[in-house]
């Protein structure tokens, strides 16, 4: 039972990185927009999905707390600096995306957009750092070169994913090209993170299933290559491919450490809540999951497709 919950936890975090990933990708690509109209269009593309995307993080942490209370305490406090920065950045993105259109003046909106750009970049960086921190094991010093390089690699992946999303949603051309140009950069960054990981004795000692790591990296590179080829022609496929690149890192971390958790020496089974708690959560949550997914799907369906000038605008 703890395995099922651990998988669910991984899937929720992975979905958060995929969905939140294009929020932050769009946010940091605002830096590339030249006119207020372009920035407006990019935010309109995210609009209806934004709240539903961010909440995957809230739900993932909820599962962590309910099903793995030991891990929650150890991991969040063990990775304190990285987690605190990620949290501060995420809440700043959340607030500034929703508030940027409230002031009337263009100047104020532009100032908020700069906040969105910076906080989205920091959020992407910090999540990459958190994932790397899990791979090198908790407790232990957090800020290593592996963590920093992985943070940069995650920024590159998130930016590529954002470009693929915008290429899919916006009528204007241009984001497919930005995306294609970002991909070599992302490949290089993933390569650098791999090298840094190989050099770190903590990572080598901790990730005791090298086969999983190789498979995960292969999937990541495959996703980036597919995106490179399809961007501009089949944007849907490209978006699916970049989504894969953001889901893979979490699954890689979880699977390569298995049956251990990221806390050194603690197995997943030992980290889980006791039997009655897990049974209760399963009884309450299992019937709900289809409803949760169904309502999210309803949202995607209602606002699917390319946006046009009749698209609803709110933030």
């Amino acid at each position: 039972m703890s395995t099922a919950w651990y998988t669910l936890l991984g899937l929720f975090f992975a979905t958060y990185f995929v969905l939140g990933g294009y929020d932050y990708g769009t946010g940091l690509l605002l830096a590339r927009a030249r006119t207020a109209r372009e920035r407006r269009a990019m935010l309109t593309a995210v609009g209806p999905f934004f709240l539903g995307n961010e909440v995957w993080l809230v739900a993932a942490v909820g599962i962590l707390f309910g099903a793995f209370p030991l891990l929650e305490g150890e991991l969040l406090s063990g990775l304190y600096p990285a987690v605190a920065v990620a949290l501060a950045a995420v809440l700043t993105v959340t607030a500034s995306v929703q508030l940027r259109s409230r002031p009337a003046s263009e100047r104020a909106k532009h100032a908020w957009d700069r906040v969105i750009i910076v906080s989205s970049t920091v959020a992407a960086f910090a999540w990459g750092a958190v994932l790397a921190g899990l791979l090198q094991g908790v407790p232990g010093p957090v800020l290593t070169s592996f963590v920093l390089v992985s943070g940069l690699a995650f920024v590159a992946l998130v930016a590529t994913h954002g470009a693929a999303f915008l290429a899919l949603r916006l009528p204007e051309e241009g984001f497919d090209k930005i995306g294609r140009n970002l991909i070599p950069l992302a490949l290089a960054a993933v390569g650098a993170a791999t090298v840094a990981g190989l050099l770190s004795s903590r990572v080598r000692g901790h990730a005791h299933r090298p086969g999983v790591v190789i498979a995960g990296l292969a999937l990541l590179i495959l996703g980036l290559m597919v995106a490179r080829v399809t961007l501009g022609r089949r944007n849907g496929v490209a978006f699916a491919a970049t989504s894969l690149t953001l889901a893979v890192p979490v699954l890689l971390v979880g699977a390569t450490l298995w049956p251990f958790s990221p806390v050194t020496g603690l197995t997943v089974a030992d980290a889980a809540a006791s039997g009655p708690t897990l049974r209760l959560l399963s009884w309450l949550a299992a019937p709900l999951l289809p409803a949760l997914l169904g309502f999210q799907a309803m949202c995607w369906w209602a606002f699917r497709g390319r946006i046009d000038d009749r698209a609803p605008v709110y933030w």
């Binding site: 709240l51 909440v55 739900a59 909820g62 030991l70 995420v90 959560l281 949202c299 209602a302």
Partner: protein, 421 residues
């Protein structure tokens, strides 16, 4: 600095800010449900405009509810890892339910509600708002279940020094839960009512455009506030019935208090004084009751609806305007009493606050406290500024539910007030 003190300060600051926004969320969403349902049934345009005006205000407020809520959720892991270690098996379950059942659906529904104007069918759109409201109350429900376990632990058994869940039903039947949940929800309704009445009063005092619209929402606000205060007072006094029994050191008479503290000291070491909350703990309770009784006077404004005396006399408008901050203050006092009053325990009688704090250095904790407090306060002040600016602008053209290319509607002409002439 002492990490324990910092962690407590940080929790108190973040939760208090969170709660100020949550109160408005819960209060306004209830009013919105009424307004949009009335629009659906009567088809009167004034209800659509009211829904859009108060809806925009609600949404600006909501932003900070989410931002502060995120910090709350992470804070347990960051600063209170001992709590999840010793009590996570029990305490984590209701919080997990809260996120899965309540927040997840709430955010999904809300996104569709905001962007669904003119796009989804009217009935579906209204159902989404009902969904938002129900899940908002569900989140208050689960978080209060979790909090009540901290106040009065039930439904668990200790094995190897760790609490294990034995009876989930007991968590829901917890004495500390029912009345407190009623008290909190009606506190939110009180806040919502006074906010709607106060902002409407401001427009009527200034004789801005849209007389008819704000006259209507003034009435709705006063009725909501009346229901809210009567009920919040009722549930408030109802809590006295059991409080002394379940938390003698907080609210027992002198004898019970000392007996309980002496008993704790005998079992766990230290002196009885270590097991008593600070001396001043009665003060916030007293202030809350005074404010509650003051606010209760709002029912005397109801008869003044007759022939719009409430507007024509003007004094009631000023009273309503100045009353707006009071329920917020009362709510913070209430939490101070509830949370500080259970000290030195995080889980009453079971786990001491000092054993729950994370093994994190004072420096990290200080940076986190200062950083998050500065960030949240900046955002909160910006948010209140935007809400005030928006409330001031009036209901001519709220951004929520704006139709593409629709002209800005003409505000109704305002009738000359008879008395003031």
């Amino acid at each position: 600095m002492d990490p324990l003190l910092l962690a407590r300060l940080q929790f108190a600051t973040t939760t208090s800010i969170h709660f100020l926004f949550v109160l408005v969320t819960l209060g306004l969403v209830t009013v919105l449900v009424y307004l949009q349902t009335a629009w659906m049934i009567t088809k009167k345009p004034v209800y659509e405009r009211l829904t859009r005006f108060w809806g925009t205000l609600y949404l600006i407020n909501y932003v900070l509810g989410i931002a502060t809520g995120l910090v709350m959720e992470f804070q347990f892991g960051l600063n209170w890892s001992g709590l999840s270690h010793y009590a996570g098996n029990v305490f984590g379950a209701p919080l997990a339910m809260e996120t899965l059942v309540a927040f997840f659906l709430e955010s999904t529904f809300l996104g569709m509600w905001i962007f669904g104007w003119h796009r989804l069918r009217r009935g579906v759109h209204l159902a989404l708002l009902w969904g938002v409201a129900i899940t908002a109350y569900a989140s208050a429900f689960w978080v209060m279940v979790a909090n009540s376990f901290l106040q009065h632990p039930v439904g668990y058994e200790m094995r190897d020094g760790i609490a294990h869940l034995t009876d989930f039903g007991a968590l829901l039947r917890n004495q500390s839960f029912g009345m407190a949940f009623g008290h909190v929800t009606f506190a939110a309704l009180t806040v919502g009512g006074f906010l709607v009445a106060g902002i409407s009063a401001w427009h009527l005092i200034r004789r801005t455009a849209d007389y008819g619209l704000f006259r209507k929402s003034l009435r709705i606000g006063v009725v909501t506030a009346s229901i809210g205060t009567v009920m919040v007072t009722g549930f408030g006094f109802a809590q006295f019935g059991y409080l002394g029994a379940i938390q003698p050191t907080k609210f027992g008479d002198e004898y019970d208090k000392m007996a309980a503290a002496t008993d704790f000291a005998a079992r766990l070491g230290g002196s009885p004084a270590d097991y008593l909350p600070p001396e001043w703990i009665g003060a916030p309770l007293g202030f809350m009751i005074i404010i509650g009784n003051l606010l209760g006077l709002v029912v005397f404004l109801l008869p003044l609806f007759f022939r719009d005396w409430i507007i024509r006399l003007r004094a009631p408008l000023y009273i309503l305007l100045f009353a707006v901050p009071l329920p917020f203050v009362a709510a913070i006092f209430g939490w101070l009493f509830r949370e500080v009053g259970r000290q030195p325990w995080v889980v009453y009688g079971l786990l001491k606050t000092s054993d729950a704090v994370s093994p994190v250095s004072g420096g990290t904790m200080l940076a986190s406290f200062l950083g998050f407090t500065a960030l949240l306060l900046t955002l909160a002040v910006t948010n209140w500024y935007l809400m005030a600016r928006y409330a001031h602008t009036g209901a001519a053209d709220p951004s929520l539910g704006r139709q593409h290319g629709s002209p800005v509607p003409d505000p109704e002409p305002r009738p000359e007030p008879v008395l003031a002439a």
